[in-house]
Symmetry: C2
Subunit: 422 residues, 2 copies
Amino acid sequence: MLQPDFDSTVIDARLAAAKEASYRLARATTAEKDAALERIASDLRARADEVIAANRLDLEAGRSSGLTTGLLDRLALDEGRIDALAAAVLEVISLTDPVGETLTGRTLPSGVRIDQIRVPLGVVGAIYEARPNVTIDIAVLALKSGNAVVLRGGSAAEQTNRVLVDVLRGAIDAVGLPAGAVQTVDDYGRAGARHLMQARDYVDVLIPRGSAGLIRAVVDEARVPVIETGAGVVHMFLDASAPEQWAVELVHNAKVQRPSVCNALETLLVHRDAVDRVLPAVLDRLEASGVTIHADERVRALRPEALPVTDEDFATEHMSLDLSVAVVDSIDDALAHIRTFSTRHTESIVTNDLANAERFLNEVDSAAVMVNASTRFTDGAEFGFGAEVGISTQKLHARGPMGLPELTSTKWIVRGAGHVRA
Amino acid sequence: MLQPDFDSTVIDARLAAAKEASYRLARATTAEKDAALERIASDLRARADEVIAANRLDLEAGRSSGLTTGLLDRLALDEGRIDALAAAVLEVISLTDPVGETLTGRTLPSGVRIDQIRVPLGVVGAIYEARPNVTIDIAVLALKSGNAVVLRGGSAAEQTNRVLVDVLRGAIDAVGLPAGAVQTVDDYGRAGARHLMQARDYVDVLIPRGSAGLIRAVVDEARVPVIETGAGVVHMFLDASAPEQWAVELVHNAKVQRPSVCNALETLLVHRDAVDRVLPAVLDRLEASGVTIHADERVRALRPEALPVTDEDFATEHMSLDLSVAVVDSIDDALAHIRTFSTRHTESIVTNDLANAERFLNEVDSAAVMVNASTRFTDGAEFGFGAEVGISTQKLHARGPMGLPELTSTKWIVRGAGHVRA
């Protein structure tokens, strides 16, 4: 679709409408918000044909513009996927509404009462790529936590997202909440995205979801506060004492179970004393699952056919069945390698040495640090959050898997009876 | 002092040293950190003459460059103030170390154990203006919470800060912690500040403290995440039912007790039905304390000699004995005015109407919202935090008075026994 000429007043009007709607949503009861979610789920199912027709246009455009099979698959919606999407919306109803929760409170010596309670952030901006399920996902999580949302979903899914946004707005309106709570800037392309990233007066937080390149671009351009999510150059370290069977199973699970996600393993570091004892079985198991090994010299002594590993490999989130493997002389060298190349998402040590386990837990500065567990556990659903907004790899506000509480801020409520400060 | 030519490699080396020191500090025990604080306090007292001599140079330069009396007063250090500063450092020892606190934890259905624990942020950048006490203040709070700190303290205090940084580094080194934990970019002026604001690879968060202009400049220029602090266009609303005596005392305390701080009152809104009954006594009390009233037409009907108020007044944090006063027709109009002009720091309603009190608490979107209490209560010490890093007026990470926990992030610790994801 041709993009209209960029008109910042139109976009500002949408952002202002989102802000206005956010005030109403902040006061919406859990029952009102859950009614909206229920309606979204039923409208999604009722309007599945319309969504699929729009999706077909996106898929056709994607095929002619040469999108990869992987991207086309992420883009595609059929009856079954829409049904699963609707079911996921209904699951959000069962999650605890974080708004209004009292986090702490006390009576001050003067008799003034203070309470810190959770309130919605306000307006959440979401920037993501060609995954129409994210449109529904992020909108319903924002809604449940009392936030308005401004979406920028990537041009490849534009037709699909247009219908999905219409479904969302219609459902919200039908239950008496403001349809303005869901806005899109998709029709203004990159200029719209750029405007969204600058809109400090209207948008309280930006959440980019997608490739490392997308996230980097948002961090570089945004003046609105950003929560960095996702990119995972994830490490596992096989310590000298790593039990062989655990090593084989943990490395295989972390790399192979779902290679295209951010908590999948990218680099395996092996203590030199574990190389002969453990590494052959680990590599056998990986190779049997079609993993391509990028190896340093010491690993290639065992596997001459492996590709040579480069610093660029060490810094890359492959999201494929590629794995970098290197031998280190000590846990210090492993920690130094991780410090240099990790994106601070998840790292795991496989060991039977308690001192090294504790040292790894203390010294690795990542959102999740593990002992003898698969890195695939870093996930909102696995952590029991019921839903996941993304996985934060930054240190402010939220770190690691983000659930509904991470879409809230707080407010101090202060009650006096004519109290003045002495 | 002449600034050296800007050399980003020198500054990067300092930032890298701060980062390196932050790894050691993250593992420092509370006892180690407290020993450093104790040493800082005693060294401050022992080197008071040196500090005062440097401060004299800054004061002379300030006088010849025409700094206001107020700024010169903030800049000045004497024996008494240095002693008070040392005493404040010792008080931080008694605060609970937030590092290592377990915030939540559970055993997942698979048997994997997860715990969310507090960890230091890493490297905290502080940008502030001509207040040498902030140099000590922010450095010791960062230190107690396990963070390294990079300071940019404003050229007017450069000589004083140079000695204070030397005291801090000397004391930290003397107890066996890395002196690199305290860095300054003061000697590189604005170019140094700019470099600090861009240094995402080294700095985890920037905290600007000072004027609205300083904070705006940092927000605009920074690529490092910023916690906005301080600017307070603070409102009080006298509802139709406001008890007269409370109104008189609360408005007076909020405006007059300490007009130069961010939680002081800037705008008084009065319900039209309270004007005749309450406002004269409120204004009498203010005027007796020398407050200059900037008033709208309806207030000037009572006080023709008052200055006419402008939208610019409504948007200004005067930090002086100036007060904007306006009459509103309803609580809705009061809420609308606050939404337009508030900096979302603190607002208070004076009322005897429970429904309006609850509405005000719910609908005002500020860090602290009060009923029948002076806005001066929004303060880390008053809230019982023992120390205050600043008052956040943003919604991410921290909102309202920030204590030591707000200088931390979290980390998920995951312990398994060969657990793989199904």
